[in-house]
Symmetry: C2
Subunit: 238 residues, 2 copies
DNA sequence: GGTACTATGTGTTTAATGAACACGAAGTCA
DNA sequence: TGACTTCGTGTTCATTAAACACATAGTACC
């Protein structure tokens, strides 16, 4: 805040007296499926960028927390359940980014478990307002509306960085999972192969996993031990 | 952005049709002086929090970039020259954070060289709108207006983290400096002593410093070699 | 001019961490 | 019972981080 007397005082008593930007939230929802990282996009039904794909998002309500607005827009527009992880990413506010008027967008990124991850991994349905909603592989995105390409790129680099020093991966996996599945999530996000032995060693040493009494037997080979995260929240490693 | 047709369309053609939050920028300006880290605060002249200390900041103009708004508010309200480093920090938007109306604040943090650092380290003067402006040691702040205490805390933890993997320290030092001065900046920010030999070894190995032809002779002891950063911008280390 | 004073400047050892690397085990299926 | 496929496990080596002490180059004072 500032100490200017005129605009602030005026704003207090007459909120409509000055032009002010619109404020939206946009959500980069990410999930790992089919050994690729995917983003959830909706197809726009109205000008501008009509027919193009864009991030789900919308206006912040007058008495609504930013975090709550992001969660709400994600669910409303895409039909997916609440994200297992949702964090503010960056605020995009270049004057020309929306051709209609000045729009400042607070971007969030969300993580959801992939298929088989329980209710939170449900398929998107076109929400109340979106013409269409679907998952797109991040390495083969269509042209995006507004500056949403930049927003997605920012989200990816944040997620890659965060994967290195926190346990956020929990948000992309179901309650129980094998170490191979966990490793695949890391490989998909980092887009490079990891050494199996080093990976398992590091994960088990990090004290964030515990074995469950169950195994997963699938296919004609040795069954895998199932693990779960000891805490379903992102904790700092090291 | 979203694909809702009603509000967006309305916003495009009648920006005043809906209540919308006010958007401000607040700036956490930091500098190192007297072997302590300091924040620049202004004393508020009007309700609410009249007489209390707050971060410099103010409304974003309709056609103004967020970064430019932060730079402008910093200079206008405190009289300090343009920051050598300015980066977006986080956006604070809890509905009750300002008692007047809904205010969403995009916080930035700025770094300035300490005394002796040339024009950029000039003393603050009460700006056009601020009753008073001065540097406060971060470990002995007065009670702050709004949620500005939280904003300062966020800035400090960001700066501490960033110091570890980038060369941002350049922004807190004058063009030329000694390795001891550089080390003191690190110690002040991290609030712990560092080993001199390890510090020098790491800094020189990072390939971000170059010696100048000059030395600094001050006091009754051996003069120190002066260095400068090879690039006056934050680069990633490792 | 000699001595005290003070910050500068410099290497080595040790511990911890990260990277590379191969093979037997436990299942299913034909 | 043999072929197939994924699971599960240790060691070595290189790199990085942490601990640690003393001679040097100036000034100030006697």
């Amino acid at each position: 805040m500032n100490t200017k007397s005129e605009p602030e005082t005026a704003a207090a008593y007459d909120p409509g007296a000055f032009d002010r930007p619109s404020v939206t939230v946009d959500v980069v929802a990410l999930t790992a499926r089919d050994d690729r990282l995917h983003v959830l996009l909706v197809r726009r039904g109205v000008w501008p960028f009509e027919g193009q794909w864009a991030l789900p998002g919308g206006f912040v309500k007058m008495d609504e927390d930013l975090y709550a607005a992001a969660q709400r827009e994600l669910c409303e527009e895409t039909g997916v359940p609440a994200a297992t992880y949702l964090e503010q990413l960056y605020t995009f506010g270049a004057p020309g980014r929306d051709p209609r008027t000045r729009v400042i967008s607070v971007a969030y990124y969300a993580l959801l478990p992939g298929p088989g991850g329980g209710p939170a991994c449900a398929e998107p349905e076109a929400g109340s307002d979106a013409a269409e909603a679907r998952w797109w592989p991040v390495d083969a995105l269509p042209p995006l509306a507004f500056d949403h390409g930049e927003i997605v790129a920012t989200a990816l680099s944040r997620l890659r960085a965060k994967l290195g020093y926190t346990s956020v991966a929990y948000a992309l996996l179901p309650e129980e999972f094998t170490l191979s599945e966990l490793q695949r999530v890391y490989e998909v996000i980092l887009a490079r192969p990891l050494d199996k032995r080093n990976f398992r060693k590091k994960m088990l040493a990090a004290d964030i996993l515990e074995p469950t009494p169950r195994q997963r037997r699938v296919g004609a080979h040795r069954p895998a031990q199932l693990y779960r995260f000891t805490r379903r929240e992102a904790v700092l490693l090291d």
